[in-house]
């Protein structure tokens, strides 16, 4: 079990927002490696709609920070072709919700070429994309969809929840010789124009470091109940766990950080200890992440679970626009607390 800490040797206690941490990672790698470039819609002068590329144009110029037409199939495919020729593209898909216009390039090409070539061709590429709702952006701009990507083989899928992981996972993603989908939640970017999230700004070392892809992080230890979660929901779970601890309920919270590869070991060890499993997931409930976590347990040992698993996910409904409805379907703190209470009563 890995409990992640900021390296004690870190020379700094400087804090960054998640978006700045991402940008710092990209800049650092662009300086080290001239084959890294960024391409996507509004990544240049605008700096990325969710500030994933702010300031990079000024620093690296328009040859390496490249605005595109609204042609996702063309420019994601361009990334794949450039990667095949040895470059290391970082391609932004502005919202993950737009995947449907370019999914063939993503899953039939970017993800499969290495396999189809019997390993002779590598596609070292990062596809970064904004996920998540909570600000009334409606059914086409609020989804997480990591389950969709994790289901299809050939892509790694990482989902940071903090500025520290955002930087370290971005560095790992750029260094990886495989295509990596990097999914950042808008609600943890620390944007000045979104509801504040106190976890969206935190200590980030200035130097190079990486967070390994495929290792979950036990962000809170506990003995009564395991919460498996990721992305923005990590913070909701931590807050709720804190509150639950006041009622004497001791929750362990696992931040998956990566869906592919999935750190089955960390999940199993935790459930072996707590015998109770709650999955909190902002993606759609059925046929996705939460089911896979259930399978991890019952494939190994169903007797680990002493009571029914619970899921707090988006209940198979498109994300509604009206706030009253959206918050009824998102994994809110109220829904999480409710599930916990039911599980320990």
């Amino acid at each position: 079990m890995v409990v992640t800490d900021i390296p004690k040797s870190s020379s700094t206690s400087r804090k960054l927002t998640t978006s700045k941490a991402m940008v710092e990672a990209i800049a650092l790698m662009m300086e080290r490696d001239s084959s890294v470039f960024v391409i996507g819609e509004d990544v240049g002068a605008y700096g990325g709609i969710f500030s994933s590329t702010t300031g990079l144009l000024e620093r690296f110029g328009p040859d390496r920070i490249i605005d595109t037409p609204i042609s996702e199939t063309a420019f994601i495919g361009l990334g794949t072709g450039a990667a095949v020729e040895g470059m290391r593209p970082i391609v932004e898909l502005m919202f993950v919700d737009f995947f449907g216009v370019a999914m063939d390039q993503i899953y039939n090409h970017m993800a499969k070429i290495h396999f189809e070539s019997g390993g002779s061709v590598k596609v070292p590429m990062v596809l970064m994309t904004a996920v998540g709702g909570g600000y009334s952006d409606g059914a086409q701009h609020s989804q997480c969809l990591w389950g969709t990507f994790a289901h299809l083989p050939g892509m790694k899928v990482v989902v940071p929840s903090s500025p520290y992981d955002a930087k370290g996972l971005m560095i790992s993603a750029i260094e990886d010789d495989n295509p990596v989908i990097y999914m950042f939640h808008k609600g943890i970017m620390g944007l000045p124009w979104m509801a504040k999230n106190s976890y969206a700004i935190d200590v980030v070392p200035e130097e190079y470091y990486s967070v390994p892809i495929g290792k979950a992080s036990v962000v809170r230890s506990g003995k009564d109940l395991t919460i498996v979660t990721l992305s923005l929901s990590v913070h909701h779970c931590l807050d709720v766990a804190e509150e639950a601890s006041r009622s004497g309920i001791d929750c362990e919270v696992i931040d998956l950080r990566s869906l592919v590869p999935l750190d089955r070991q960390t999940i199993l060890e935790s459930v072996a200890k707590t015998n109770k499993l709650l999955v909190v997931d902002e993606d759609y409930q059925s046929f996705g992440l939460s089911g896979e976590i259930a399978a991890v347990i019952v494939e190994s040992d169903p007797t680990l679970l002493k009571s029914p698993m619970k899921r707090v996910c988006v209940p198979d409904v498109p994300i509604p626009y009206a706030r009253s409805l959206e918050y009824a379907v998102l994994p809110s703190q109220a829904r999480i607390m409710d599930a916990i209470r039911q599980m320990v009563s």
């Binding site: 037409p69 609204i70 042609s71 009334s136 509801a195 209940p315």
Partner: protein, 325 residues
Amino acid sequence: MDDQVRIGLYQKMVLIRTFEETILRDYHADKKPVWDIGAGLIPGEMHLSAGQEPVAVGICAHLNKDDAITATHRPHHLAIAHGMDLGKLAGEIYGRESGLGRGRGGHMHLFDPETHFSCSGIIAEGFPPALGQGFAFKRKGLSSVVVAVTGEGAANQGAFHESLNLAALWKLPVVFVVEDNEWAISVSRSASTSVASNAVRAESYGIPGVLVEDNSVEKIYEAAAVAVDRARAGQGPTLMEIRTLRLWGHFEGDAQGYRADLDSVASRDPIPLYESQLRASEILDDQIVKEIKEEAMSKVESAIEFAKASPIPEPSSALKYVFAE
């Protein structure tokens, strides 16, 4: 062109602008002191169409409610020009049960069976469903047409090409409109488009391509008449590119730092320009303008009041409408 038509065009533009100015005010009213996109009476992204009213009004003057429109993330001008009920439109924007989508859709997802209106937040992806509406109209022997609208940024999306080819091949009654406001968020037309005008792309499909070079409601009206008639007569689609103006930001909150032409924008606002023109021709005077603006304001206010007074959707109803029963 008849003076009454001119006044009508002006009137519709004023109605749209009045509606959007009211939305603008309410949108920003309660997001302070620290601006939060998700807060307030109207949360979420807000793409207003101010400056593009001539496109909507010039085209929709040739349509009736049996004709269809598929619009984009920036849909209000087209919705209003096509005759959508203002109360239901406002209801949706305010996320109320009285909205077109009972608050489920929001301002990028307006579906109005009464006016065959729809829109989508995905770039260019309103074109393919337009084909289907045109196909259905044709099969039913109707003379109804579909107007499918995108921005110039969207014209580089694959759906644009596929849709124009299919419509041309099957002579579907569709008028394709590229609302060219020169910007796709922060990316200019010249940075995204390999040709100077999308109108030339009509040649790839063997259909007429029309470029309306300025944001004149009358020129748009005239060009649209030809395209709509052609579609109605069963002669197939037309591609219209209309040079228009994004008067405000891409969405509310867009500081437009990337926009070099920012200073001149306000002076190009088509509504005061058209008003001056009609005043100069003595078609409008203070009195008529006052009446038109007051009438618009009263319509808009009652729609907004209706919206604000209607119930917020019950959280317990969140799982409804995924499937038709």
